[in-house]
């Protein structure tokens, strides 16, 4: 069963999901949050049931299509749950832990889908900023819980708008997949798929300017971070004296 041709089902699922996420976002007491979790879980299960059953050109090449399908559905389910948990968690560390689950689920899904090189690259690249975030969460030993956020009608409006956006994008997806150009089979590269050497060649020769710009931005970021941290430590060294004098 596909999402295509089922706008009412899609709208119902999106509405259920938006309601569950609204409860999770706005309520601080356990009971409404449990209700929100249950509603969101039902919506996620319904969304997963709309996925076409396929194992793809999986790394896990088994004869059983059930295991192939399961190898896709398990990381997909974990990723969907973790994505909701990232935006609804109150604690920074818990949110970060769920974000690690999101990254791992994305990588697992790319592996299962057959995009091994892109999956490995996704994992390697995410280590860069996840390392920074994990370091931050490790050193911030105080004020882990985010402060209470005001509940406004805007939250409900945002949930409704994003649910409609999701339904609209879902209804447009089959046309995008159908419009995908057929695979080229004439060149030697495409018949064997691309490898690391093709990726390096493309980065150096086709995207040389972009690579230079990104490298410069990374350099600027490193210098900025070191300067900001140095300024902070010098302020800290002078601050107790000023505070005492005041």
């Amino acid at each position: 069963m596909s999402v295509q041709g089922l706008p009412i089902t899609t709208l119902i699922i999106c509405g259920l999901g938006a309601g569950g996420i609204y409860l999770l976002l706005t309520q601080r007491k356990p009971a409404p949050r449990r209700t929100g979790t249950a509603v969101a879980a039902i919506a996620l299960a319904a969304l997963l049931s709309l996925f076409p059953l396929t194992g793809g050109n999986s790394l896990i090449a088994t004869s059983s299509s059930f295991i192939s399908t399961l190898s896709f559905l398990v990381p997909a389910g974990c990723g969907l749950v973790a994505t909701i948990a990232v935006i609804t968690s109150r604690s920074r560390r818990r949110g970060l832990a769920w974000f690690v689950v999101v990254v791992l689920a994305n990588t697992a899904m790319l592996f299962v889908g057959g995009a091994v090189i892109v999956g490995v690259m996704n994992l390697i690249l995410n280590v860069g900023f996840l390392g920074t975030l994990l370091l931050f969460a490790a050193v911030s030993d105080t004020n882990d819980e985010s402060p209470a956020e005001p509940v406004s009608g805007f939250t409900w409006l945002a949930c409704a708008v994003t649910a409609l956006l999701f339904a609209g994008l879902l209804s447009a997806l089959p046309r995008v997949v159908a419009a995908e150009p057929p695979r080229a089979t004439t060149s030697a590269v495409s018949s064997n798929g691309f490898g690391w050497s093709d990726l390096g060649r493309s980065l150096l020769f086709d995207h040389g300017i972009s690579l230079t710009v990104v490298s410069l931005l990374l350099l600027i970021a490193i210098v900025t971070v070191s300067r900001m941290m140095t300024g902070e430590s010098s302020e800290l060294s002078t601050q107790p004296v000023e505070g005492t004098a005041a």
Binding site: T54, I87, G119, F129, P150, A158, L165, A184, L199
Partner: protein, 106 residues
């Protein structure tokens, strides 16, 4: 490296879900750290969509763009987290001393 159309459809649904949920997080959360996480969730969805379409069309350009986007995200996160930490430290100093820090260096 190929992806069949059904798997491409599944990956795109997943990517759209991550992007929309990240948007909701950016719109609704007030904490700077959670705003950052929402933005990164949106970026993850975009990366999955680019990777899936790139692998489906056997186009190495998508993978190259993924590499460049990852580099930009690393730079953005490093600066944002440092900025957040400096702001939080300055706010705690203001709370202790009871006056704003006009003479602090930027």
């Amino acid at each position: 490296m190929t992806i069949d159309p059904e798997m491409l459809h599944n990956l795109l649904v997943f990517a759209v879900f991550q992007f929309v949920t990240g948007t909701l997080g950016v719109l609704c959360r007030r904490s700077l750290f959670h705003l950052l996480l929402g933005g990164q969730t949106m970026l993850q969805g975009t990366c999955v969509a680019i990777a899936a379409i790139s692998a489906s069309g056997e186009d190495v350009g998508g993978a190259a763009w993924l590499f460049l986007i990852g580099g930009l995200a690393a730079a953005q996160i490093a600066v944002a987290v440092t900025f957040f930490r400096v702001l939080a430290r300055r706010r705690s100093i203001e709370t202790v001393t009871g006056h704003p820090q006009e003479d602090c260096r930027a």
